[in-house]
Amino acid sequence: MTRDHDVLILGAGLAGMRAALEAARGGADVAIVTKVHPIRSHSSAAQGGINAAISEEDSWESHAFDTVKGSDYLADQDAVEIMAQEAPADIIEFEHMGVIFYRGPDGKLGKRAFGGASLARTYFVGDITGQALLVTLYDQILKAGVKVYEEWFATKLFMEGGACRGLVALEMITGELHLLRAKAVVVASGGLGRLYEPSTNALICTGDGYSLAYRAGAPLMDMEMVQYHPTTLAGSGFLMTEAARGEGAYLLNSEGERFMKRYAPNKMELAARDVTSRAEATEIAEGRGIDGNVLLDLRHLGPEVILKKLPQIHEMALDYLGIDMIKEPVPVRPGMHYQMGGIKTDVEGATSVPGIYAAGEVACVSVHGGNRLGANSLLDTIVFGRRSGKASADYAKRTTASTGGENLLASEQARLQELLERPYTGDTPAGLRLELATMMDEKVGLYRNDAGLREALAALKEYQKRYERIAVGDKGRVFNQALEFALELGYLLDCGEAIIRAALERKESRGAHTHTEHPERNDADWLRHIVLTLRDDREPEVSHVPVTITRWKPEVRTY
Amino acid sequence: MKVAFFPGCVSKGACPELYVSATAIAEPLGLELHELESAPCCGAGVLSEQNPELGDALNALMLAMAEAQGADLMTICSTCQGVLSNHNYHLQRDPARMDRANATIADQGFRYGGTTKVKHLLWMLFEDIGIDRVAVAIKRKLTGLKVAPFYGCYILRPVEELGLRERPERKTYLEQLIALLGAEPVEYRGSTKCCGFPMLTFNRDKALAMGGNHIIEAKEKGADLLVTPCPLCHLNLDGQQPDAARVLKQEIDVPIFHLPQLLGLAFGLDPEQLRLNHHVVSTKGALEKVELKV
């Protein structure tokens, strides 16, 4: 079936739904395409809070500077300024929508401390901020009556005359392939955590948007900047929010020492995430870990604070490790968490390909540069979700609709059919993904080196070859998840290649990219973004783009 | 063993057979029943809904009366058990609530100190009287009878307030007891579900369908009768059974026994003594299986 809209939003998390709401307000006929129900989006896993310079003693300049410094000066400062300036209004708008933010004694929004911030500016709801924002935004989508193609899986962007004119999607419930035409597509499909094992990310974070846009010619930027979160639960890798450290939790090694004083004497446990994760990894490597973990100690916070402000992580530690954090410290370790890089966009969410917009984790404006501060991601989604929603709706007004696409639909049908019919040759999507993800964590994780990265690329090339023959263990049409996984694995492989190539290119250490053979930051040569552009499915073209500096010259970065 | 006995409203009203059979089995079980004649209705959760403070006060009054007797409070109704446990749990843990309740009943010369334990007869059989004592009292094994347990919501939920986290075995007492009495417990999903009574006046047909479906499920699994520790469930499952059959357009005809009636039979008492001839759905068929007449 073929359907037409003005704007399509790919992904129904915070960025996607915010974009949809804005596009709808702009009068566009907008529809959301999402492979899971909006409420299942990974935005709900964000726990700690959302940043804004709202209070009297704060200023957007301070927020912006903290963000730029946090990014290890790789962030584009014009974009950071916009985000910091618009943050207060965006958060208040969500409050007007009904989000049950925490209040201070005066009934106004109350805040908590978070990593890398010079003063407390994180607004929150218990430790379920992402969920609270997501469910409220979903309720607003219901109120606005926005169309949602629920459990439709996008397989390819529809390109015509050099511009994006929609996409092809698999309707999971019927197994039917559809052509959805639109004048603009906003890619807001979230992250790629499944590329790493372990990861805090959900099973659905498979880098779909990065690959779809990349293959349509949209450049990817800063892909080497992969954030490891310092406190992921030992074993499962589940996220233990930074808010715990915001409320005062300590990080201890096997000697009971608050080791962060040797790495970040001022900010201690609230240093930027890359700094903290590396500190932990060093402690563990030097023999001061406990079974490969360090300890997150919240005992001194007391049951009142833990149960009121951090109830979800308290329950998680109890459920999945049998540990009551009121009485015992919790073993944690760094785990892959967030991708700072992504589809290169300007501050309106536009890419260099007409008709392709992007927002949220999948996009790289860049506001997070080499390292994202905690509570800035939720902000990124709503600020740039809004902007790309507006920009794409405006663009759609000046653009005519396409009447083509039937060829693409036919070729996609053939492609999927061929995939379904392949005989088993020894690999399963799950098995191959695990190999890939384990390799990425080993060779393209917290610490990188030339030899390791080259081995990673060789391994990836081998996985790509095996992927071309991968078979699917379910041949049916109704809700064929095996087919979905096989397609997702393809997206992950594209993302893996982009990350490795970008990591090979950057011969310095900056933010989350730590190169053991180039351990220092080198602004003279490397104050620039690494961009990958795919042309006609050949090897990607690697280029450099300068970082936009407005007012903050790079300084030595200590916490 | 001395207990402060609260028979509840229904056993003195529409289910007199419950009161009669409960008092009849006291002696074989060695129970000394001190009836709380001036204890008010527990409110059945209905009063607490619209006036939580009133619910607290009425229940605190009853709990204080039992406390004054220096004995555990024994109930013979799942609903009383659930409501009393709920109020007791929160009164014991929330000093503000306890103070308010005590301030109210102080006028009447009562004060609740928070020490009363509330236990249904079913729990007492296992936890206080002891199954050895119960076994000794059995004079007539109910061999050949297939008995389906029907707990009634409020003796199983809410889990926390009923102490089921500490004592999860309470969720299986009926099956264990049925087996002890020589009968065969019937396993079916409806045993822990709602009979529909709370909704009887709000949405009659749906309430009847609810209860009726559970009886039918038990019947299809071979049950000769259902046994329940709750007279409100009994009123719906027995009293309204003909109407339920009409709503569901299916014959049901499964007798519903009260817990003390089943015990009484096993202890050798006559069906008439236990008023088994005063049910809406005849108990004749089930009794014939153990060679009894009514």
Binding site: V478 | C9, S38, Q50, N51
Partner: protein, 336 residues
């Protein structure tokens, strides 16, 4: 450790043509679905593994055709609610060891929802009910300017955290007894969200909401059985929110319904005599002038009479009954 999992399979394309006889009769009787069957798998996992670990293991290494919704694995996204040993739970929060009965764990799509495939059910009834309660803030006027938030006490926001914790997993609706017999019932989740907005001081439509929720299919169609409270993995306690709505609705004047009449009749009886007078409870709840409904209960009244179970015409007052009335008066509020 070895675990045995029995999975309820269903494929509308009829790939399981050999399942003419289902593994077991499917309770409850009004939801039988003969096309389904059970398939048994064994997995080897650590002892603290959860049901979802087993399902993922099966799906990845044993049977790629097993369809199950899951994403976060940590009880946040709400995707993996299903029947586990006959009760609705999140698969990612249910330890296999705790959910082993007779040596196995049985999982299946809940019979009260239509099934799409294997463990994937059609949640449309759930989402429709959510939408039906108008689950969005209807802003109290005047809305503060764009740079200012509403000023509200933190306690009011904290009170709503319980309801906002809802992850829409559907476990409550899957096990709701009332929904099982009455598909019109809005259900626990929708009504909990109804309270979330009714109880928000920034919402303007309190009275309209309470009126809507007092209608057929709303708060008075709940059978008060606590299944939703027991099964909810996030402590939302939907029943408690329904009870809050009932009180608010009655206080707001929506009293022309059997629920309110029932409570009033109950209270009157306890206040005047200390105990419940069942004889008058039914007719009073129905409403004396509601002749059609009164006639409907005559047969059962007659049955009770014939069995000698009709409560005494003269209702017995407990010793010291005046004390009860004094307590009613002292507490005040409704029922005084």
């Amino acid at each position: 450790m070895q675990f045995t999992i029995e999975v309820g399979r269903y494929n509308p394309e009829g790939r399981y043509a050999d399942n003419a006889i289902p593994g077991e009769p499917y309770p409850p009787p009004w939801n039988r679905s003969p096309a389904r069957r059970y398939q048994t798998y064994t997995v080897d996992l650590p002892e603290h593994a959860v049901v979802l670990d087993a399902l993922i293991e099966i799906r990845e290494y044993q049977d790629q055709s097993l369809a199950v919704r899951c994403a976060c694995r940590s009880a946040i996204c709400g995707s993996c609610a299903m029947w586990i040993n006959g009760h609705a739970n999140l698969a990612c929060k249910s330890k296999l060891q705790e959910f082993t009965k007779d040596g196995k764990t049985r999982v299946e799509s809940p019979p009260s929802m239509p099934v799409i495939r294997d463990l994937v059910c059609d949640m449309a009834p759930f989402w429709e009910k959510h939408l039906a309660v108008k689950p969005w803030l209807q802003n109290k006027q005047p809305v503060p300017p764009p740079d200012e938030e509403y000023r509200v006490p933190n306690a009011a926001m904290e009170e709503l955290i319980q309801e906002v914790s809802c992850i829409s997993c559907g476990a409550c609706l899957m096990d709701c007894e009332s929904f099982a017999v009455n598909s019109e019932f809005l259900g626990p989740q929708a009504l909990a969200q109804a309270y979330r907005y009714t109880g928000d001081p920034r919402d303007a439509e309190t009275k309209e909401r309470l009126g809507q929720y007092s209608e057929s299919g709303g708060i008075w169609d709940c059978t008060h059985c606590y299944e939703c409270v027991t099964q909810c993995p996030k402590g939302v306690a939907p029943l408690e929110q329904i009870l809050k709505l009932r009180k608010l609705a009655v206080d707001a004047g929506f009293t022309n319904n059997p629920g309110t009449r029932h409570a009033d009749a109950f209270a009157e009886s306890v206040r005047d005599s200390g105990r419940l007078n069942e004889l008058t409870l039914m007719p009073k709840s129905i409403g004396y002038f509601n002749f059609v409904e009164q006639l409907k209960v005559l047969p059962s009244a007659f049955n009770l009479l014939r069995a000698g179970k009709l409560p005494p015409l003269i209702h017995h007052k407990i010793p010291g009954f005046k004390r009860i009335k004094a307590i009613f008066e002292r507490v005040g509020g409704r029922f005084k």
